[in-house]
Structure formats: C-alpha cells, structure tokens
C-alpha cells in the first residue's frame, strides 16, 4: 500500500519554511494519503498551485464536488483508507454537504478541506463566502476553522485522528485563503493526544463474560451484525466467533459481507426488505447478540413489536448507540474487532456450546427458509431485475465490488448478490443518497485498480451524478454500470402503488435519455438490453471489455416490486412475502 511507500517521504520537508498551501499538501503526503478528490476555485488557488508543484500527491479532478465527496467515500469503504476531499469556498463547499452527510450517516472516515475567503472578509458576505463550519456542524464528526498558519499541520493531523478513531466519521477543515499564503516552519506531528477525546477500544471483561454466558445459555440466539463489523475489519473474528457459537447470523444492509453470505449459518439481510427467515428469527429470538449495529428504524420496524421475547447484548464503539432505540441488557463499549478477539479468548474458559441446545431453533429456521422468500417469476417475457443481479453475481464470481444508488435496484442488489467478503458492497444505507453509486464506484476503482467494479443503479439515480462519466474517461476507469431501467422512480412508485391507491405522483420518468448515445458521447461503451435471453451474454461481453467503461441500459419489468417487505409501522412477524398478499398500510414513514 502507498502508506508504507510514503514512509520514505515522511517529514522530508520537516523543519523547512513552507507556505500554508504547501503545508496542506505536505501534511497530506506525510499522512500517507494516496488520493485527493477535488475541484478547484478561487479560495484554493494557492493550494492547487502547491499541488501542481508537488509530485507526491495524486489529485483526482471530478466533475462536481458532490462526486468528489462520494468518490472519496467509495474509496474509503472499499479500502479502509481515509478519503480526502479538497474543494473551494462557497458553492464548492456547499456542494459537498450531501457527500459529507452521506459519509456521516454511515460512519465513514473522511477528511474534507475547504477553502474559505480571506480572514478579514469572513462575516462580510464576501464573494463565495459560506459559513461551511456552521452549515456542516450537524453532519460532521468534527470541524474546525483555521486561524493561524502555524495550526494547519496539527489541525490536519487532528482531523485524521478524529476521523479514523472511535466511531469514524467525516472531519472538515476550513482554511481561509490568506492563511494558505503565509509562511511558517513545517512540522507534521507524529501523533495527537486530546484530553477531550479518548475513545474506548477494549471492552470490559466482566461485561463480555456476562454477555457470552447469556449467549451460550440461549436456546434461540441470533447474531445481528451491522456496518460496525465492516468498519472495524472484524469479518474474520466475527466468522470464527459465530461458527464457534453455532448461532444463526443476520447482517444489516450496511453489514453485508462481514459474514459470508454463502455460509450455512447465514440468514440473509434483515429489516424492511430482509429475508423472511432473518426477520422471523429476530422476532422469535430469546437472545440478540448485536455486533456493530445500531437498531435503525429500517431494521427494527415498529419498536413495540421488535424481538418481544429477547434479551440484548450489544457491542458498539459508540456508547450513544447503545440503548438508544432498544434497551440493552448487556452493553459492551469497544472496538468490534478488539471485543470479538476478547470474546474468543474468554470463550476458552467457558463451556463449549452444545449443538443440541439450538437444534430445535435450527429446525424452525429451516422451516422459515422453506418459504423461499426471494423466489421470483423467472418465466416472464420481461427482464426481471432480480435475475440481472443473480447473473451479475455469477459472472463476476461473487467477487466484484458492487456500489449502488438508492431505490428498488439497491434492495435487489443487496438481496440477490451474495457477498462473501467485506468492503465489496458499497451503498448509502443511512442517508439513502441517490447519485452516490457512480462516484462511489470511481473511488472504489481507484482504490482497487484490478478489481471488477459494478455500479448497480436506476434510471432516476444515475442522472444525479451523471457528469462523473467524464471523470471516468479522463482516468480510464473500467466501471460497469448496470442500470436497471424501469422508467420509474421505482421505490417511490412501489409505495404509491401499495399505500396511495396507485396515484403515481411524479414517479414516472418521461424522457429518459438514450443512455447508449449518452455514454458514447462521453467516450464510453453503451449497451441496451431488452430481452431476458440477452442478459448473461451482454454481462459477459461487458466484463470482458477490461479497459472500458460499459453502460448497460437494461430495460426491466416496469411493475416489479421489492419483496419481501415489512410495511412501515409493522413488526418483523408481519412481513408481506409476495405481491399477491395484501399489504396492510401501516403508519407511513
């Protein structure tokens, strides 16, 4: 990785007098930053000049600041390295807000550097002035305005430290233009220590023992894991732990890949569009062992009907995520990976679980599985979106990095692509940001140049950051865009069909562009696929074009809906499995 390669360059310029702009760039280099995703402007002119003169930094010019933020985000989610964004003041800064909020909701570490107007102009409604520190305060982990050139290096170091430790998140550093021109002696700190910020890493041993004893004594246990297990890179520990315990495992939308989807203990995803077996197991469980999961409303459904007979053990790095929505019986605060290692150690001193104890539970689960809740009509004359994802999974050997946008296609990707490895499934789960998929795929491709990267998107979402096709051409990113084109804002249309008596208010996409011509105009390969029999061949052809971006416009069955489904306001046991079943409108949200 470039981090170690950069060790050589580390602090090469330490002690030298540098301008603020040079310090920004040198700090990033010394931090081991591989890529900076950005877009220039007046307030960052000095910084861009310093980038021009420095050969140790790789700047990626996107076509919109939102694209820069999502690209940095996709890079981070797929590699674990913190993504860096550099944009100008005012509109440059406000354009990244959606990207920052997206990262924030999913706890993705990110460092955003924004240019600001000159110090003496701040507060004067100056040209391209925006109070970005104020604007982003609720959607960053932390942010700061630099007032002295002497503080730039330490602020950047602090930004990475805060972004990467504890519950990760975006940190924004706002730097006025005049400060990037001033000079000072450059020293990049080796480490940071803050009295006000000391996240806890190790779990309390007594709590761990209590939690494990409860898990071992349970007759109907479920291990429920979320994005925290992916962020902590705890997949190995989680798999070893779950196999030793012998309990069923379910992942949230954010947690897919932390436990191998093809494993026999895996129940699939839970929540609104989770599997029947996962949700029924949650409902009937007597013990829920939560690992880096935050009991989000899309997961729990109606809280009053959530796992009514269960007790809860919850491992999380963020104390505020514990007992927020569901009262936890045994809270364990710590890094998921570290705590799971402690668990594995502690299990050596506890009696090995007997398979006997949960055999009835597994029989029950087998029955639920028998419902085959993900089956769909495969004889249709129209292309079924579910089948496209299944083929995609097959043709990529289940090993592609799959990014998605937001909507039905996102749920189908989550349901029908079997993720056996972490950091392969990249989606905006928390904020649900349409427009995320393509730029996130760019970031993922930069971070994993040899990987197959697929962006599963919809005819609505793809248009929200379509300009990034130009970035893909400039940097020759061979992404495969799988556009499940249903001529609808499908997910919204689905709700209108079920809960608003089919009043399709503004969800039909009139004038969908000719995506083939559009891709070609950007210098890429476009394909339009209209027959079910052509899907596999087209996918193979696309993935064989190893050095080209291919936009696959796949015309799918317009009326297809995502099932199973827990209507909002219902509980896990009130799933609707198939279109024929009546949907009881719950409380809409």
């Amino acid at each position: 990785m470039l981090r170690s390669h950069n060790e050589r360059l580390l602090n090469k310029r330490s002690g030298v007098e540098l301008s603020g702009a040079e310090i920004v760039v040198q700090s990033l280099v010394d931090e081991g930053v591989e890529f900076v995703f950005g877009y220039p402007g007046g307030a960052t002119l000095h910084i861009y000049d310093a980038i021009f003169k420095h050969d140790g930094i790789n700047h990626i010019l996107t076509r919109h600041e939102q694209g820069a933020a999502h690209a940095a985000d996709g890079y981070t989610r797929s590699t674990g390295n913190t993504g860096v964004v550099l944009v100008t003041s005012g509109p440059g800064a406000t354009n990244v807000v959606t990207g920052i909020a997206t990262a924030h909701m999913d706890s993705i570490p990110m460092v955003i550097i924004t240019g600001q107007v000159m110090t003496q102009l701040i507060g004067n409604d100056a040209f391209q002035e925006a109070d970005i520190v104020g604007i982003t305060r609720p959607c960053v982990k932390h942010n700061m305005l630099i007032k002295d050139v002497k503080n730039i290096a330490s602020a950047i170091k602090k930004a990475f430290h805060i972004a990467e430790t504890g519950r990760p998140g975006p940190v924004l550093v706002d730097i006025p233009k005049d400060i990037t021109a001033e000079k000072t002696q450059y020293v990049y700190p080796k480490s940071v220590s803050m009295r006000s910020y000391q996240p806890r890493v190790k779990g309390n041993d007594r709590q761990i023992k209590r939690g494990l004893e409860m898990l071992l004594a349970a007759e109907r246990p479920v291990i429920y894991t979320g994005g925290g297990a992916v962020l902590a890179d705890a997949h190995k520990e989680l798999t070893e732990f779950a196999r030793y315990i012998g309990a069923p495992v379910t992942n949230t939308l954010m947690g897919l890949g932390a436990y191998p989807a093809s494993d026999k203990q895996f129940l699939g995803m839970l929540g609104m569009h989770g599997t029947y077996e996962a949700n029924m197991a949650m409902y009937e469980a007597d013990l829920i062992f939560a690992v880096g999961a935050r009991f989000d409303d899309r997961v729990t459904g109606d809280l009053t009907k959530f796992s009514p007979r269960a007790r809860f053990v919850q491992i999380d790095i963020d104390p505020a995520s514990i007992s927020k929505n569901v009262k936890t019986d045994v809270p364990i605060v710590g890094d998921v990976k570290v705590v799971l290692l402690q668990c594995l150690e502690a299990l050596k001193n506890l009696e090995k679980p007997e398979a006997e104890r949960t055999s009835k539970w597994w029989q029950q689960i087998a029955q639920w599985r028998g419902e085959n809740c993900l089956k769909f009509d495969s004889t249709s004359q129209f292309i079924k979106p579910q089948q496209v994802i299944k083929s995609l999974c097959e043709i990529t050997g289940g090993d592609a990095i799959v990014t998605s946008d937001v909507g039905q296609h996102q749920m189908w990707a989550a349901q029908y692509y079997d993720f056996d490895k972490p950091r392969r499934w990249i989606n905006s789960g928390g904020l649900g940001t349409m427009g995320f998929g393509l730029p996130a795929a760019m970031g993922a491709q930069f971070g994993n140049p040899d990987a197959q990267v697929a962006c599963v998107t919809g005819d609505g979402s793809i248009l929200m950051c379509i300009q990034e096709l130009a970035t893909c051409l400039q940097y020759k990113l061979p992404i495969k865009i799988i556009c499940l084109n249903n001529r609808y804002l499908g997910m919204v249309r689905q709700w209108q069909e079920f809960f608003y008596e089919q009043r399709y208010s503004h969800t039909y996409m009139d004038s969908v562009p000719d995506f083939v011509a559009l891709s070609e105009s950007f210098g890429h390969v476009g394909m339009r696929i209209e027959n079910p029999g052509d899907v596999d061949g087209a996918l193979k052809e696309a993935f064989d074009l190893k050095d080209r971006l291919v936009f696959m416009d796949i015309v799918t069955d317009q009326g297809e809906n995502v099932f199973p489904m827990i209507p909002a306001g219902a509980g896990h046991s009130e799933m609707v499995l198939r279109p024929e079943e009546n949907l009881k409108p719950g409380e809409l949200s």
Partner: protein, 164 residues
C-alpha cells in the same frame, strides 16, 4: 425530571454552538443555559437545565460526551448539589409606603437594592429556583418594569470537583 447538567468544554470558538446545536437537532429541551470561563483559561464551564425521562437524559449525557470539544459531563442533580441563579428586577417604587414595603421584602429574601431613582428600585436577589419563584410571588402586587435572570448555575457539594 428536571436535571442540571454541568459540562467542561474546550474554550474554542464554536464549542457552545455545538452544544446548542445538539439540543435543537435532537429535540432535547433547554430551560436555561449559562456558560463562562473557568480558572483554567483553556476551559469553559457550561451549565444547563433540561427535562426528560431517564432514557432521554442518558442519551443527552452520551451525546454531550460524544462532542469532540467536551471534556467532562456530569448530571449534578444525581447527588447533593447547590444551585444558584441571580435575578435583577426593576420595579416601580413611588411613595414612601411602597418603598418601605419593598425594603421589607428585600430583607426577607436577603436581596439588595442596587439602583435607585425617584420612582424605581432595581433589586438583586440570588437563590435556587424555588427561592426565586417565591421572591417573584412576593412582587405580585408590584409593577415590574423589567426582569433579567442569569440562568441557573450549580456545583456539587462535598470534596469532589469537576476538573479536566
């Protein structure tokens, strides 16, 4: 339940708005909020009065702790504590009878008259919220021209001290 929460935070620009923003973003209520420097110039001390059930208060404490600028948080209502608020009241005081009456009230509440004109008195009184309320009750028949309250501050009783 009413709680008094004390927060030590880094004396950085924007720190106060992070706390205030947290309360509005998450829908917690603030009945009063005071903030000032401490003996350590790098730290500010903030006191806020809020209301909520145990689960809400637990979240408030955790969310406050999560703010990067926050060094320490305690709910001082959990133990024995002192609370104080200062109130300044400008009242109409015309004629010797009214003026004598005012003097007696001030005496009872151990307050002070801090400013005088021919027709007004400005009164100062310190106490916990119960005492302030009964003081205001005592002024029921007086014409109040202006009141200002400092907001509540508090400190725990005993030897333990809230420090960084």
């Amino acid at each position: 339940m009413r709680r008094i929460i004390s927060v030590l935070l880094e004396n950085e620009s924007g720190a106060l708005s992070r706390v205030a923003g947290l309360f509005s973003a998450r829908g917690y209520n603030i009945e009063s909020l005071t903030v000032a420097a401490t003996e350590d110039s790098t730290l500010s001390r903030l006191t806020m009065v809020t209301r909520g059930n145990d689960a809400v208060i637990e979240q408030i404490l955790k969310q406050l702790n999560k703010l990067i600028d926050v060094v320490k948080v305690v709910d001082i209502t959990e133990g024995a504590h002192l609370e104080r608020e200062v109130i300044l009241v400008k009242v109409q005081a015309k004629g010797s009878e009214a003026r004598d009456e005012m003097m007696r009230l001030i005496e009872i509440f151990k307050g002070k008259i801090v400013d005088v004109t021919e027709t007004t008195y400005t009164l100062e009184m310190t106490g916990d919220s119960a005492k302030i309320s009964s003081f205001l009750e005592g002024l029921k028949n007086t014409k109040i021209l202006e009141t200002v309250r400092s907001g509540i501050t508090g400190i725990s009783r005993g030897k333990s001290a809230l420090r960084a």
